[in-house]
Symmetry: C3
Subunit: 347 residues, 3 copies
């Protein structure tokens, strides 16, 4: 597909600077763009990249210096570029397909307007599903679940019984919501399963990546707050209470009964032990291990995690450790002191 | 559903202290309970929480001091509470559904009494399945597998060919048992696949979480011992010999050909390198990296893991590192010694 | 099944030293072999194990000292043993099954010669599939995908729309290729999804383990180079450019827009932050965290990762930290200097 700059500027309601009859064939990033492509500059920081880009045209924010390329000025270049990208690549929103004959939907299920229930999806007894939901191929929804409007379950997602999802929840392929929490008691030389009888309640506008797991609570729900985004391969254990608008990056794990307030951010491969509370706005660096409650707006890093400033100082000192050790031995020798410790320290 | 304390005490064979005609409507934990709820106290340590709970009644162990609430005394309050919870919330055990017409079961498959084979499950040639197994929607069982009695495979579990499961094994959704081990040889600039021809043998009473992976052995089985419990997103590599009654918490990974004895416990996100042996009763702290064989009953922590006592001392000293460095520079200056190391140390 | 050494030597075109009429019943590793079994010795390093093995016969490389057992000499004992193992255990290559009536294949799909499309697999509109592909039970292939020849998708694998796979790609069960990248912008107190509109392009001879995730690019493809091998539970984020012949061991994660050159090796549970570049031939130790670009052929370890030699020195010094601290206090006391730091250091 190809379009003139005039057509694309109309699509995104932008202002043209340059040749409105210029024809573009593709939409690519600054680095990948070729002659004949349109690209975009998200903000002034990225503007220098436009000088070196081979793109013929660019979608830019207002007030960006002009450099000879044809420009379309818009308030939000990223979202405008996404619209142009979809248009030029012929991407369309999925149309509702109804309930496919090869889906297995229990007769008691209630489904809202314009559903898309794909082949080999299963929906269990007494489940209620909102309007315009997409339940993709092989996705399994248990009994007595409640899904809001505009929910998307990608292929092979599994919701166990009693899971509750708000509106506009997106769950990516092969994720599992509501499996039994990892709860055992040690009795007579065996680990005896503690029944996991509650459920999972997920707020609106939550997105969960692929191959992620959120376990059901033992006797009270595991909860994930509105607007929280969870990446691939993340584990949220039973009884967790994850706050609103959190970011949990890939392969992070949160232990049982732990909780977070709003606007918490965790980098990749973070671990949070069980029964800790993470305060509002706390940011946790990748690979850190959280072992204690944190106050609000903490910046933490390390295993175990310390305030980022302390961790950075310790890390800087660690680099000097071999030299410190040599200096110490030199001083001991200079002073004629013995290398051995005088005695075992108190524990 | 609502019940009198008398009815619930009969259900759990408990002794009533207080108002046997009291009516309760819900079962909630100490913290969540509202007036009209019954809660539970697992042991004396949790007893103070009962003072502050709004619950109207509680299931308690014998000899707990009475505080004015109506109590039901039982030997095992947790399991009694679970029974009451199920009863009040109308939870019932799954009834067998037989073999669903939309399941794909090879004609050579042998299946024991009272099966539940759900829609879109597949069971391959020559597989033998015990009595009372639940093979949930979309679960795939390969050829020539052997499943004991009372096995539960949750939706979209995949067993490759030749997998053997004992009795009462539970595998949660989207887990994969028996995929090829990660074995290659480097030849002529390419990684050439080493055939992974053996299988996985899992003992009785093993539970495996969601999105976990246990790889088949190359030429001898990967084994998991009786009673071992494996959490979500855990990786057990090819040829591993995991002992009995182990606990592997979420996102832990055990490398190829490693082995554990009985009663080993690993916290979350632990890594065990390949070809190591972990002794009986060893406990490994979260996020640790095991790089060497361990004796029995070790307590280990860190990357690489050291005895917990040593790791704790090192961690405590690390906190002091920036100050140690300042002190050292101060001493060097005081003594008129140069800051630079005299020479490169022997490696 | 049983065979004479003569029959097995013919199978692998080997040279017999010893009793060509010897009958063997099983194929097992050096350690597991019993009398009546044939085993193998991969190279001279493993030769001592043959002395202690109970095997009756062995497949060995040329020039290995003879020890009294019947031997079959071949150039590549591992692959010869694999062939004998398959033969004695009756393992056969999967025969093509055609397109199963219970698979859901869109009428527009093009499929090459001798396909195997198993029950409950789904293949979306406009997808093109090469010759001799195996799409196992419950595997879901989106719209507009392109699969080369001899591709194997194990059960419940999910390919989102537009995914491209080369020839001989193998993807193990429950893995997800092409889910949306984890991209949001923070606006007005909410994380707003950035459209993820591009795809994933995977080269030939790539193998991906179980429950692994490779996200689609935002506006340009995520790419994985020819011959790269990816283990279970690995995360490759959006826009990554993974080079050729890489090895990514289990539970490793590579952050968004990061890239690797050829022959990079990552141990288990490695984390690579976003937007870094890893040079050719770099080897990264298990559990390391890569935070900066690396040159070619680097050997790295630690969080954050340092050159292996430096990391080893720092680790060795850390062991001495408690003693260093005691020595330092002893010196301060000896010199009559105060323990407290004189002032806060410049940041």
């Amino acid at each position: 597909m190809q379009n003139t700059i005039r057509q694309l500027a109309e699509l995104v309601k932008g202002t043209i600077l340059g040749d409105e009859d210029l024809v573009v064939h593709g939409a690519r990033t600054l680095h990948d763009a070729q002659p004949g492509d349109i690209t975009f500059v998200e903000n002034e920081k990225n503007a220098p990249g436009l000088q070196h880009s081979q793109a013929s045209a660019a979608i830019v924010p207002p007030k960006l210096p002009v450099n000879g390329k044809t420009l379309i000025q818009v308030a939000d270049p990223l979202m405008a570029f996404a619209a142009v990208f979809r248009h030029l690549h012929g991407l369309r929103a999925c149309q509702p397909i109804g309930i496919h004959a090869r889906a297995d939907v229990h007769s008691s299920v209630q489904i809202g307007a314009n559903p898309s229930i794909h082949p080999y999806a299963c929906i269990g007894e007494a489940t209620v599903i909102g309007a315009r939901c997409h339940i993709h191929c092989g996705a399994i929804v248990g009994k007595n679940c409640r899904l809001g409007d505009d929910v998307v379950l990608y292929p092979n997602v599994v919701l166990y019984d009693d899971v509750v999802l708000g509106d506009r929840v997106i769950i990516h392929a092969n994720s599992t919501i509501g499996a039994d929490g990892f709860g055992y008691r040690f009795q007579n030389g065996r680990h005896v399963k503690v029944p996991q009888l509650s459920n999972v309640i997920i707020g609106s506008d939550v997105e969960i990546g692929a191959c992620a797991t959120v376990d059901r609570g033992a006797f009270a729900p595991t909860r994930i707050g509105d607007g929280t985004k969870i990446d691939n391969l993340v584990q949220v254990a039973h009884n967790c209470q994850i706050g609103k608008h959190n970011i949990l990056a890939a392969q992070t794990g949160v232990g049982g009964s732990s909780s977070t307030e709003s606007y918490v951010t965790m980098g990749g491969q973070v671990g949070v032990t069980d029964h800790v509370h993470v305060g509002q706005g706390t940011m946790i660096g990748a690979k850190s291990g959280i072992t204690h409650d944190t106050g609000p707006n903490a910046r933490l890093f390390g295993i175990p995690a310390r305030p980022l400033r302390d961790s950075s100082r310790v890390l800087a000192s660690m680099e000097k450790l071999p030299q410190m050790r040599r200096d110490l031995l030199r001083i001991l020798k200079y002073l004629g002191l013995k290398d051995e410790p005088p005695s075992e320290p108190a524990a």
